[in-house]
Symmetry: C2
Subunit: 322 residues, 2 copies
């Protein structure tokens, strides 16, 4: 893919992963439009795109004229979503409206206004549910543990059907826990590491819920690299891929690395809360052999280094993210 002067639409473009991707695209000379509805409790932050050449379209994907938005796009990176698991349980109607119904509308709009655009869709490991084997490859059974898993699987599958029935080049990347600069750190809505970072930088102990669960955290620069490679690799079109990250570490180990990166930091451990236990997936790590083989991608950033870089990035910017 030639990114210089490419016309790129990034939905969810003011969010954590979306904004990092927008900035990387703009740095490569692409003309980038970022759609973001700044959903309450979501990952969008005006600070994420400040001072960049990215055109921010501050509209809700459920209401915006998607046809006009898609017009002339060469590539669509589709990251707009309701991503909170507890949020989906509390308001499953809003969750399905964004994650599935709006996807159907986007597919129809793109069919009319950008029939040849490559689409890279941000999907999730969430709908595998509690893994029946580790690591989890793409043939692992789909068993959504919560409303958010249901809607995200539906949204992905609509895109894959569009590939099969209309020939659209589509790649879906099933992400695991991602972290790094521009993550929502105000609370635990985006990932547990967000609130840990906030606590550490505010000089307070953070809480680890449970502790033995394994996670393969992906640093955001590696996620961005994966999105760019997916769009640029025709061999990937029509496929879904798991993306993993650093070697699996327990939440306790991740907490210890976080403490090690910041003198004076500390944490406490508590039992996993009851209302979340019902939808908890336990340990997860991905088998991402297929995507690595197709693209040469690699989750290059070691976890300890990624955590240290993230803390350094937030230190002078903390106020904008609270």
């Amino acid at each position: 893919m030639q990114w210089d002067r490419a016309r790129v639409l990034v939905t969810g473009g003011a969010g954590f992963l979306g904004s990092n991707l927008c900035l990387a695209l703009a740095a490569r000379g692409a003309k980038v439009a970022a759609l973001d509805g700044f959903l309450f409790g979501g990952g969008a932050n005006p600070a994420n795109l400040e001072g960049s050449d990215v055109t921010l379209v501050r509209e809700d994907i459920r209401e915006v004229d998607l046809r006009t938005l898609c017009e002339g796009a060469d590539v669509i990176f589709n990251l707009a979503a309701q991503t909170s698991h507890m949020g989906g349980q509390r308001d499953p109607l809003a969750d399905i409206a964004v994650n599935a119904v709006a996807q159907v509308r986007l597919i129809q709009a793109a069919r009319e206004a950008a029939p040849n655009a490559v689409v890279v869709h941000a999907s999730t490991r969430q709908f595998y549910g509690r893994p029946i084997r580790l690591p989890v490859d793409e043939t692992h059974p789909v068993a959504p543990p919560d409303a958010n898993g249901v809607s995200k699987f539906a949204g992905e599958q609509y895109w894959m059907i569009e590939h099969r029935t209309a020939g659209r080049p589509v790649v879906s990347l099933r992400l695991t826990n991602c972290y790094g600069p521009r993550l929502r750190i105000r609370d635990a809505r985006q990932t547990f590491l967000g609130i840990w970072i906030r606590c550490v930088l505010e000089g307070r102990p953070f809480e680890v819920w449970g502790g033995s669960q394994l996670r393969d955290m992906t640093y955001v620069d590696d996620v961005t690299d994966a999105f760019l490679r997916a769009a640029s690799t025709p061999e990937c079109y029509g496929h879904v891929y798991n993306l993993g990250g650093a070697p699996p570490a327990s939440l306790t180990e991740i907490a210890e690395m976080t403490v090690a990166a910041c003198p004076g930091a500390s944490f406490t451990t508590r039992e996993f809360p009851q209302d979340r236990a019902a939808i908890d997936i336990g340990s997860y790590h991905a088998d991402d052999t297929a995507f690595r083989a197709a693209t040469g991608w690699n989750a290059a950033t070691p976890l300890a280094e990624g955590i240290a870089r993230t803390l350094e990035w937030y230190r002078p910017r903390l106020a904008a993210y609270l």
Copy 2:
């Protein structure tokens, strides 16, 4: 389950399977309310419930006050759906509105108005996609071939999550091609056998598309029996089950049985149409060992007998179904 005087809600109750179930429940003394929106192109027919004690609520599940409707129900048989595969492809927004969004609303309404009701949900083999092995058991991968498969899987999964997070007794039955009295025979929208029956009774040859695809057809009385047993078997709660039918037969064999049941009938064979080939699932037959073991159920009606009974049933009633 004590059916005498039980308060039962059947969504999609004026449709093919729904009306047969309503009549069986009424015959057992249940107080039955049938919700049906008479969707254009759907299976509902006013003739299906004529002369019965079933209370017909002629409202769209997307708009009706579901809370009032659920009030006091002991059992909810949930059959309302957009079931046409081509219909889902043509209007995926209407398809997801009925099959997934309305299900979320029904779940919320039932939580308030009928917190203890047993729910039996009508699901489908459709979302297994083109089988990677035969027969298909419940662990077969989910790979929806079309929009209808996406929305039906989402709807089922919302109900199963309601079981896991709220304790609701829920059983989901994944149906294969069903046939028998009260099937939509005006066209091929409900199943291929519908239009065959119409042609035969009108003295015209019917068309077989393809011919080698295997199907395990379930006669409607056996489907009704399965729904009643599912509601009555606490061991089933929280589970999804495949329902099969008669031993697998090819479309050509089914066509030959249909001709044999009606002197003078005939058929022609044509290639599978292009627009349907993209979402075709090829051969299918279910492994329904789990449901049989749990309930003692059995698809008792031989195919040739079921076809003959269906033709006999329609012969004096043809006008009401065209």
